[in-house]
């Protein structure tokens, strides 16, 4: 309960700062839309030159992309801690966080939240809606529940991966270029994994399980029965990866000695 009220306090503070830099907020939402459009354009252009991608057609790939946007929007609204190392470890902000009686990870997530990214949920639903009509897909009432659990699973997978990488900062204070590249690797989960080499498929399934934030869960809604097993693993993977990152975080905090004097 305490955490819920903390969340609303942070959220209202956040909205205040956003309203101060109003133009910037608008530009940020526009740049998100632009980003989403760029990936769509990529798919459209690629299908100008080919009819299918590993046996999947254009609308199916667009549907996967639309699905991906929803958990990704949740992730980028709340777990966008790619600059954790620089912001909290190098500058010593972590000391301030640790003196407070709220779990440090929760505080950082709250401080770094970017609620305007939630806009991506709408874009995702619109894109999925378009593709679903083109493909003539039908959904049962319980599909909504399955959708929600898969979206949450996907968001927690993303969160788990990025928090785990952020915890590297507790062990080593040197700068990494890993974070930006991770965003790129995340993109590969949006394409049918059967086009990749075994090794990459393995990585995308079990090590950096981005395929669970795209092609696997979307396969369920596209009635691709050969992938159902993976599709239903999505929430499980979310719980597992988020728990791992949580444990890593706690271990890291214990090891944290602070930077400078």
């Amino acid at each position: 309960m305490f955490y819920v009220s903390m969340f609303f306090q942070y959220a209202s503070q956040y909205l205040k700062t956003r309203l101060t830099y109003r133009i910037d907020t608008v530009i940020e939402i526009l740049s998100d839309l632009l980003f989403q459009a760029v990936n769509l354009i990529f798919i459209l252009i690629v299908f100008d030159h080919t009819a299918s991608l590993g046996g999947w057609n254009r609308e199916e790939i667009i549907f996967i992309y639309g699905f991906f946007l929803v958990p990704y929007a949740l992730f980028s609204s709340f777990f966008n801690i790619w600059d954790f190392n620089e912001r909290y470890i190098v500058r010593g902000e972590m000391d301030r966080v640790l003196t407070r009686p709220v779990h440090s990870l929760f505080q950082i997530i709250m401080e770094r939240m970017e609620l305007e990214s939630l806009f991506g949920v709408i874009t995702g639903l619109v894109i999925m809606g378009y593709a679903a009509t083109e493909l003539g897909l039908t959904f049962a009432w319980y599909d909504v529940l399955i959708f929600i659990s898969m979206v949450l699973g996907g968001a927690f997978i993303y969160a788990g991966i990025f928090i785990s990488i952020a915890t590297i900062g507790f062990w080593s204070d040197s700068r990494t270029d890993i974070m930006p590249m991770m965003y790129n690797i995340g993109n590969y989960g949006r394409y049918p994994v059967n086009i990749y080499h075994k090794v990459i498929r393995f990585v995308l399934t079990w090590i950096l399980p981005f395929a669970f934030v795209g092609v696997y869960p979307a396969a369920y809604f596209l009635n691709r029965e050969e992938w159902y097993g993976y599709a239903f693993l999505t929430p499980v993977m979310g719980i597992v990866f988020f728990s791992i990152s949580y444990l890593l975080w706690n271990a890291g905090v214990k090891r944290y000695r602070g930077a400078g004097n």
């Binding site: 910037d24 608008v26 940020e28 760029v38 990529f42 590993g54 590249m181 991770m182 990749y196 990459i200």
Partner: protein
């Protein structure tokens, strides 16, 4: 001049001090290029070539585009924005050097570091794993490096422009992000410009972005031949000159506009 050289050196040494994590970066880059390779192989399917590029050339294109990105990429727009936000820029501006020149030199130091410790070893590793064609032609390499220098200049100029914009917007993370997305798409990093529909290609000839990634990558893969190479490099040089004008204008406006927040 020696002052600016010193700045390149200092930034280079600073990067060198933090080099260990770059090796993990190479691995990540390789996975990235690898995934792209399979994606493109699937896109090609049974096609021999698309828009004059074979699968082999396409793989090379992807690899070289990403490795070149390590060289020209920098965050000086974000650094400038941060310095404006902190108010540090006021101190920087009374120092006896050109602020923008200093930022460019720092970016160059960073770029040279990444070229030597990231792109070159990265390219060798990628070439061992994936089929990549290296040109045997000396002039191709020569033109490639010239065009790489221009891609650094043009990209840095665009970064400076975005950075200067924070004098007017105060908080411009949104703009910085938008710029990054636009560059990824319009520079030819994600897709060669020749893959776009014709009308889009026409629009892009009037924009500076293809000077950043498309031109050096096409030169490297020998997608450009003969006179095309020459024209492409000239186009880059043209943009490098043109972009000086808005930078000058905005910078003098910005200096008048300067409001240091807080402090």
């Amino acid at each position: 001049m020696s002052m600016y050289l010193e700045m390149i050196r200092v930034r280079f040494l600073m990067m060198l001090a933090y080099r260990t994590n770059y090796y993990s970066g190479i691995l990540i880059y390789s996975i990235n290029i690898g995934a792209y390779y399979f994606l493109w192989s699937a896109i090609y399917g049974n096609n021999e070539e698309i828009q004059g590029l074979s699968v082999l050339q396409m793989t090379t294109y992807v690899a070289v585009a990403w490795m070149a990105r390590a060289f020209y990429f920098n965050n000086i727009d974000r650094e400038i924005a941060a310095e404006i936000k902190d108010g540090k820029v006021a101190i920087e501006m009374i120092r006896p050097y050109n602020y923008l020149g200093m930022k460019t030199m720092q970016a160059l130091g960073e770029g040279i570091f990444r070229l030597l410790f990231f792109s070159v070893p990265g390219m060798i590793i990628v070439a061992l794993v994936f089929p990549i064609s290296f040109s045997a032609n000396l002039s191709t390499w020569l033109f490639f490096f010239v065009s790489l220098v221009f891609s650094f200049i043009v990209n840095t100029q665009i970064n400076l422009l975005t950075g200067i914009m924070s004098f007017f917007l105060f908080n411009n993370t949104g703009l910085i992000r938008a710029k990054r997305v636009v560059i990824d798409l319009f520079s030819g990093l994600l897709l060669p410009i020749s893959f776009y529909p014709l009308w889009a290609q026409t629009v892009m000839t009037y924009l500076p972005f293809q000077a950043i990634s498309y031109i050096p990558s096409m030169i490297f893969t020998e997608g450009f031949v003969g006179k095309e190479i020459f024209n492409a490099v000239l186009l880059q040089a043209f943009w490098a000159l043109i972009l000086l004008i808005p930078i000058r204008l905005l910078w003098s406006l910005a200096k008048k506009q300067l409001i240091v927040q807080g402090g």
